[in-house]
Point group: C2
Chain length 192, copies 2
């Protein structure tokens, strides 16, 4: 498929000037430099981004839309923050989660996509791939750090205070590793 | 890049007749039909596959190679199996993990890759993408079910028996969801 360079740039400009429709409403601080670096390139732009986060998710069912956050932080957490948020536990299951950075990037073409994919892989974003080809070339870059641990059920916290401390300590370590990868990717993309 | 159809087929034949070098040494039962269906197509073949599993991983460090499995099952588990395996806990951290199906597929070209990617997405393999383009076109298909929960630290089990029961019950539910997605993908690929 022929890629129209002028059309791509118009769409990039339109996209980056429109209002941020995410729940948070702006780009996470921890990923701002990387997003700016990607968007400074002529052949790509970010369409969504999350720097990584620690959350407490109360699930009413397996459906994503039937879940609510008791806690969400785009950075390291403390066990007292988690314990405090857990007081809001309802009657459903609550999961403690550490999620790593996720980025969606539109690339001008497959050449541009390949360059980004290689940089992502070198930086440790192991779950990265081209998720759409054809009219638009879209990449998804994800790192592999994660924690998914049950912490409450039927309105009752099912883990000890010490367990929460350990979980938070491990989640914070993973957030550090995630941050290092973001910095590395930012540096590599800057040199493209 | 020009794709040589004869060369692709020679490489496919060579790959599929060589000895399975995975630790397990053969294709997981839960994914055998899907692998056979993919390999029956003229324009793709699987290069690695895992049907999904429940594991207990003892980590000596954050490095993947410095971890050992206390338990690994490509299917549903029971809490007594997990409790029994936890008796082998050494002095390091042990994590209970449920991992979903992961497949690597080489496609003849981007047209073949796109067809598989669309089928994967419809089947619920949300973390799917083209991970290599150029000389070889490779896809990675992954589903999103996962559990990563700390269960032992410094030689001590840090969760209750009831917690292990809940974790196993949730992991088995996720294994069921994973199996449904494999069946759906197998049916869709069959129709391609």
């Amino acid at each position: 498929m022929k890629i129209d360079y002028t059309e791509f740039h118009k769409e990039k400009k339109d996209f980056l000037t429109k209002t941020d429709k995410s729940k948070k409403g702006n780009i996470d601080k921890g990923i701002r430099s990387l997003v700016q670096t990607i968007n400074s390139k002529h052949d790509c732009y970010t369409t969504s981004s999350c720097s990584g986060r620690i959350v407490l998710l109360e699930k009413r069912s397996e459906k994503k839309q039937e879940a609510s956050w008791l806690f969400s932080k785009h950075g390291k957490a403390t066990s007292s923050e988690i314990k405090h948020a857990l007081q809001k536990t309802g009657k459903h299951q609550v999961w403690f989660r550490q999620e790593s950075c996720i980025l969606h990037i539109r690339a001008l073409n497959l050449v541009a996509a390949k360059k980004l994919l290689d940089a992502a892989r070198i930086s440790g974003f192991k779950r990265s791939g081209i998720v759409s080809i054809g009219k638009k070339t879209i990449l998804e870059l994800i790192s592999t750090e994660s924690i998914d641990a049950l912490v409450a059920e039927k309105g009752r916290i099912v883990v000890s205070d010490d367990y929460i401390k350990s979980l938070v300590r491990e989640a914070n370590k993973k957030m550090d590793a995630n941050e290092e990868k973001i910095t590395k990717l930012c540096s590599l993309v800057g040199k493209l």
